[in-house]
């Protein structure tokens, strides 16, 4: 999967929450671009060459947003052209680009989240919140593929006696599909009874349950958490210094290019690139190991 999965789920989750929140709430173009580039780099590191296929939808989303926003929003002081006495302003186009980038970045981070958080990690986080829900999650993850397999077997068995769900008249196929589904539910209920018996036999009942986890907090997790703490401090400073604020309407705010702000922006970028750096570091380790053999 991803090398980042070796981190403790709590660390991973906190990182993602902070990164997503920063992306969502700060409209500053520099910050948005940093977030986008960091997300894309990380995705490339995890998925390899296939990550470039993401551009197929990223570019349209950004362009579409840049085109649609000016059609609805006519604020702004630099109109480019007039359509039916409505002004298409530069600010609106820029805002469209910004929103498009924001959407694309959010989707990228969500994809990365899905790739790095395994079901085990989810289970761990849920078990801290609600042990019963965590068990339910685990059982769902077990039974859903099982049901899918049984359904496929039933469809295959019917096909082997001449009843194909994929061919024939619509009505016949629909009836067959309904019958298969109905029998699937009967089968699932029977499984449930036997499964419940097995659970009871192993002591599942009204008494208090503990939860078992396979994760332990390591020094690299602690280091990551310190980095996160530092970043939150940095964010506080940036907000106080007004580095994060950027308005598009009525016109563009002035870009802060004072050295202090540049340092703050680089700190921000540094943090955002930590996951990509870690991912690359682990992969390189592995590559070196392979080559040295």
């Amino acid at each position: 999967m991803s090398e980042l999965s070796t981190y403790h789920p709590f660390v991973l989750c906190s990182f993602f929450v902070v990164l997503l929140a920063c992306t969502m709430f700060f409209m500053h173009p520099v910050l948005l671009v940093i977030s986008f580039v960091a997300a894309f780099t990380l995705l490339c590191r995890i998925k390899g060459k296939t990550a470039w296929k993401q551009l197929y939808w990223i570019v349209p989303v950004i362009l579409l947003s840049a085109v649609i926003n000016p059609m609805f929003s006519h604020n702004g002081e630099h109109p480019i052209l007039y359509v039916n006495s409505n002004a298409i302003t530069l600010e609106a186009i820029a805002y469209g680009f910004a929103i498009g980038t924001l959407l694309a970045t959010m989707m990228l981070w969500c994809q990365i989240f899905q790739l790095t958080m395994t079901s085990d990690a989810f289970y761990y986080l849920c078990s801290k919140g609600s042990p019963t829900f965590a068990l339910l999650l685990s059982m769902t993850l077990r039974f859903v593929p099982l049901f899918k397999m049984q359904l496929l077997q039933m469809i295959a068995a019917q096909r082997a006696i001449g009843q194909d769900v994929a061919q024939g008249s619509y009505i016949r196929r629909l009836r067959l599909a309904f019958r298969i589904l109905s029998m699937m539910i009967t089968w699932a209920l029977e499984q449930a009874i036997e499964g419940a018996d097995a659970m009871r036999a192993r002591g599942y009942g009204d008494q208090k349950r503990t939860t078992f986890s396979i994760y332990t907090m390591t020094s690299q997790d602690r280091a990551a958490l310190y980095a996160l703490g530092t970043f939150i401090g940095l964010l506080v400073i940036m907000t106080l210094m007004d580095s994060t604020y950027y308005a598009y309407y009525p016109t563009f705010s002035t870009m802060q290019v004072a050295p202090l702000h540049l340092i703050l922006y680089s700190g921000y970028a540094l943090f955002f690139f930590i996951p990509a750096w870690q991912e690359g570091r682990f992969q390189k380790q592995w590559h070196i190991y392979n080559v040295s053999k």
Partner: protein
């Protein structure tokens, strides 16, 4: 002092006749007790009565004690930890998605601390060698591995008694043997008390310390395995389940019955005098019906070929058995022949024409009749009657009725298909397929989950069908069944068919992958392959 004691135990379901009557036995600590009986004799119910959480609703009288304490007075904690129960189906007992979680599940239930769980799970995973697939998803395990994980999960709770309800019914012979020997190892190394309900007496009888026989709810016998062989007559239903060495010896004597192949070989060497070779029957000449030529199939381009250069000719009216180990790809080969899977290379010709030139619906009704590994997957209706007659034209009703009478399942007609026993479900599925009179019957593991009595019935049925000109191809890992029923046998290995011969030369030329009868009598009798062969020389 007895570990478990059953005194005058009687059980009946509400509003029904008593199922168990006057069961009385004692199990010493560290003993292995096997409960034997035909299906419906109440052995599963008896086993469930020993585990308070699983005891069915009904009226129970009599006393069951463990270590002198009545079962009713055990706390839930005690009952969960002291008594471990392993069910028949490996699949239904697993409730979580990962192996590590499955092992920890029971311990979580009884409220162990994080540290305690960690240690016990590690201990049990190490003992069973599960640490190799500790992080695997449970659905990717084989049947044998799943059953092992189940036992490990129960042992993590440190029970003193293991209750097993036909644990090897769904497993192939090799996994079953391995499982039973693991349980024996547990009994010997840890002193666990084992109470097991089983059909495969060939393997279990030599491992047991005591046997209890149930027939229609009454206790017929309670004693040692050696004495059982003396107490059972060739007429009783239990006779077929006994090991072959015992059955052969019982024709001549009542005392000192051998139980294992090794003991039986000594008996055979001294007692059987007529050692002439059996005649090998010549195969009748038949017309080829299906010709598969160098089929190759794999599921994905990255996967290895499961079926490689597989060639096979199926003749009209024959019964061909394909044997091979579990997971070798026999079922896949069958699906390639019948066009359910499209092979990447090779061709199949059906009655001279290419398989692709046939239409799908006529292919699967008039030409191929395919019985899946799990007959349950065929059932879609609420009653057996609907299942067999729904959507079938009236011209076929007469034939269905004939089959119902011949397979004697009239009593099942108004039941839900899932309420019928394994053997009955198979018969129903078989009738469903035979309705359209397919020219070729393809059976995928027809003996899975059947007890010896049902297997005998199936042999008779299949032979009858073959007499009437039906072409049958079956895939199985049950060697005794194939030796008894087939006209030609082939071994499937490494993606191909090897050694297609009549059963006698096929099994007689193998040394270990062969029937118990051959292993028992070789080299004394050169080519005996079935029980009947051996009996004919006694």
């Amino acid at each position: 002092m007895a570990h478990i004691q059953c005194q005058q135990v009687t059980f009946c379901y509400p509003n029904e006749q008593p199922l168990l009557q006057n069961i009385h036995f004692t199990v010493e600590p560290g003993q292995w007790l096997t409960i034997v009986g035909a299906s419906g004799s109440g052995k599963t119910t008896l086993l469930k009565c020993l585990k308070p959480e699983l005891t069915p609703h009904g009226t129970q009288s009599g006393v069951i004690t463990i270590d002198g304490q009545s079962l009713q007075t055990l706390t839930p904690q005690q009952s969960a930890t002291m008594l471990g129960f392993v069910h028949q189906s490996p699949e239904t007992q697993i409730v979580t998605d990962r192996v590590w979680h499955e092992l920890a599940f029971g311990l979580e239930n009884i409220g162990c601390t994080q540290q305690e769980i960690r240690k016990r799970v590690a201990e049990v995973a190490h003992y069973f060698g599960i640490h190799r697939y500790f992080h695997e998803e449970t659905m990717h395990l084989s049947g044998g591995q799943k059953q092992l994980v189940n036992v490990a999960a129960i042992l993590a709770m440190h029970p003193t008694v293991l209750l097993l309800d036909e644990p090897t019914a769904q497993l192939d012979p090799i996994a079953a043997k391995s499982f039973l020997h693991t349980i024996k190892q547990l009994q010997q190394e840890l002193g666990l008390t084992v109470i097991i309900v089983e059909h495969r007496l060939e393997e279990v009888l030599p491992l047991s310390d005591r046997i209890v026989v149930l027939e229609e709810g009454k206790q017929l016998y309670d004693g040692t395995p050696q004495a059982l062989a003396e107490a059972v007559t060739p007429q009783s239903r239990l006779y077929e389940s006994l090991p072959i060495a015992a059955r052969v010896a019982m024709s001549r004597q009542r005392q000192n019955i051998p139980l294992t192949i090794q003991q039986g070989q000594r008996w055979v060497r001294t007692q059987i005098t007529d050692t002439t070779r059996f005649n090998e029957q010549t195969l009748p000449t038949r017309n080829p019906l299906v010709e598969a030529h160098e089929l190759s199939f794999r599921y994905t381009p990255q996967a290895p070929f499961i079926v490689r250069n597989f060639s096979c000719t199926i003749y009209e009216g024959e019964l061909l058995a394909i044997v091979g180990s579990n997971g070798s790809g026999k079922s896949t080969a069958l699906k390639c022949i019948s066009h359910l899977l499209i092979p990447q290379r090779g061709t199949v010709k059906l009655a001279g024409k290419k398989l692709t030139s046939y239409k799908a619906n006529e292919l699967y009704t008039t030409w191929f009749g395919i019985l899946p590994q799990n007959p349950r997957t065929l059932f879609l209706h609420k009653t057996v009657q609907q299942e067999l007659f729904d959507g079938i034209g009236a011209d076929k009703h007469a034939r269905i009725q004939q089959y119902i009478e011949r397979f004697s399942i009239q009593h099942c007609l108004q039941r839900h298909p899932y309420d019928c026993s394994g053997g009955e479900q198979q018969k129903i599925a078989l009738i469903k397929i035979l309705t359209h009179a397919p020219k070729i019957l393809l059976l995928d593991e027809p003996t899975k989950g059947l007890d010896p009595h049902m297997k005998k019935e199936l042999i008779v049925l299949l032979k009858e069908l073959q007499q009437q000109g039906q072409t049958i191809v079956l895939v199985s890992h049950d060697l005794e069944f194939c030796a008894a029923v087939s006209e030609r046998c082939a071994m499937f290995f490494d993606g191909q068919l090897l050694a297609i011969q009549a059963p006698r030369p096929f099994f007689a030329s193998n040394r270990f992958y062969t029937t118990a009868a051959h292993r028992l009598t070789y080299p004394h009798l050169e080519n005996a392959i079935t029980f009947e062969d051996v009996m004919s020389r006694c």
